[in-house]
């Protein structure tokens, strides 16, 4: 009898411990970038195996991941994708813990992630600074000419209402009447809402966290008056949105670049460099129109493009 009592007590304690441990993993945070990078960063990927290309949770990143994976496969590399992982904050952890080995990235935003004081704007300087800022277990391959920057856009009607305001500097006095829609991470990033205030003194009346087509719709329907949309987003042309010029280059340069686990760079460099050599901003915008406006499959769009470029 005594033994069963003990067993039951233990079982009860286990259930309670499950709740408590949600908050009590002993003061260490296995997800913090420092411990993750020293931990399993290399162990999972060292010694070959398949290359997993990850992506952020927006169309362009998914598309680029499919392009990368397609190009790798064409070169005989065993590659697969793991798309829609989340924001940069999340997929970099996945890269560091060895869940994925390659992710499509943007030079300026990535540099700023690792170096908070980073302030370069020239594409080549940004690229060099990025290389210097990256942790040792990560590396970037050659950058592409394709650039996809953050941008603040408004509808034609709002642009007319704003009068002659065409730059973010000019928006300073009018922003207080506008509600901004942007992805949640934009709220805290140095190039996001804090950056807009610091660089331009632009403070919006309100902020609604939205992304993807929901954000485009909200802007179109007037539920938000300004939106943080990627400059390559076909929705800008389709809906006649007006981009407010980033005249102080807060958003810097954002060339598309593959970020890879350093110990796997050898296997993927040739295939991915070939992709970067062919990718331009215009190409990217066209491809995005296929996935987002014509609702085609990112994988199919990627395959078609690779074929047309002689890479597939």
């Amino acid at each position: 009898m005594k033994r069963t009592t003990t067993a039951i007590a233990l079982a009860g304690v286990a259930l309670l411990a499950l709740t408590a441990s949600a908050c009590g993993s002993g003061g260490s945070d296995p997800l913090s970038s420092s411990s993750a990078s020293t931990g399993s960063g290399g162990s999972a990927s060292a010694g070959g195996g398949a290359v997993v290309v990850g992506s952020a949770d927006f169309s362009e990143s998914v598309l680029l991941a499919e392009i990368y994976a397609g190009a790798l496969k064409a070169k005989g590399v065993d590659a697969s994708t793991k798309t829609n992982i989340g924001s940069r904050e999340i997929y970099l952890k996945a890269l560091e813990d060895g869940s994925v080995q390659v992710v499509p990235e943007y030079t300026g935003a990535l540099a700023l992630f690792y170096d908070k004081s980073f302030d370069k704007t020239d594409p080549n300087e940004v690229y060099d600074a990025l290389k210097a800022a990256l942790p040792k277990n990560l590396t970037v391959l050659a950058k592409s000419a394709a650039e996809d920057n953050d941008s603040i856009v408004v509808t034609k009607e709002t642009a007319a209402m704003l009068g002659g305001v065409t730059t973010l500097s000019g928006l300073k006095d009018k922003a207080g009447t506008l509600t901004l829609g942007a992805p949640p991470e934009f709220q805290t990033r140095p190039q996001g809402i804090p950056g807009l205030e610091k660089a331009y003194g632009v403070v919006f009346k309100d902020y609604v966290p939205l992304k993807g087509q929901a954000l485009v719709q909200a802007l179109k329907n007037g539920q938000v008056q300004a939106a943080n949309i990627f400059s390559t987003d076909p929705a800008i042309a389709v809906n006649g949105f007006v981009t407010i010029e980033d005249d102080k280059k807060l958003f810097g340069s954002q060339n598309v670049v593959p970020l890879v686990a350093a110990d796997r760079a050898g296997e993927v460099t040739a295939a991915l460099d070939a992709v970067s050599a062919k990718l331009t901003t215009q190409e990217l915008t066209n491809l995005l129109k296929a996935t987002d406006v014509d609702k085609q499959d990112p994988k199919a769009v990627a395959a078609e493009w690779l074929k047309a470029q002689g890479l597939g």
Binding site: I8, A11, G12, A22, K82, N84, G86, K93, G98, G212
Partner: protein, 210 residues
Amino acid sequence: MGWLSTHGGDVWTLLLQHVWLAAVPLVIGLLVALPLGWAARRWRAAYPILVTTSGLLYTVPSLALFILMPLILGTRILDPINVVAAMTVYTVALLVRSVADGLGAVPEDVRAAATAMGYRGFRRLLAVDLPLAVPVLTAGLRVAAVSNVSIVSVASLIGVAQLGNLLTDGYNRAINGELITGIVACLLLALAFDWIIRGIGRALTPWTRA
């Protein structure tokens, strides 16, 4: 149907993944809930503690549990184990009460008769109490199964692939066909789980159909 006709293969892969993520926790959860529920019935003081704790666990938002699981388990963030573990917690939370109430619903005279026939202790539990608790247990499992299928879809927000991917992608790219396919697939899967568990429950209790 247009969307589904060109994406059948992808949907099938995601469906299998969804089945796995929802079913494995159901089995583990039942195995964990059985001794806990039994304990809750056996010791008067354990009942309120276990039932309240499990009820409390069920109020933890699923998204939070998914996000925080790697911190608790030390797993990698994209590991499906995180989802399995979180779903097991919810399953246990729902089933502890079912097990306890099911065992409690065994009539005292039946138990006395079984004892008189020589069934004692663990053997009586297995041969008499547990089979008689099956109807209540089945009801609990059906609720847990339907609940699991719905909650698993939230895992697409943390990058673990299953049918929820159709929901998030359909929403983010505003593709109605994909979104509807995702909803219908989840719905059918939940009903299939429900149907199977009900069938197993019936097969285990032939006397109820007399």
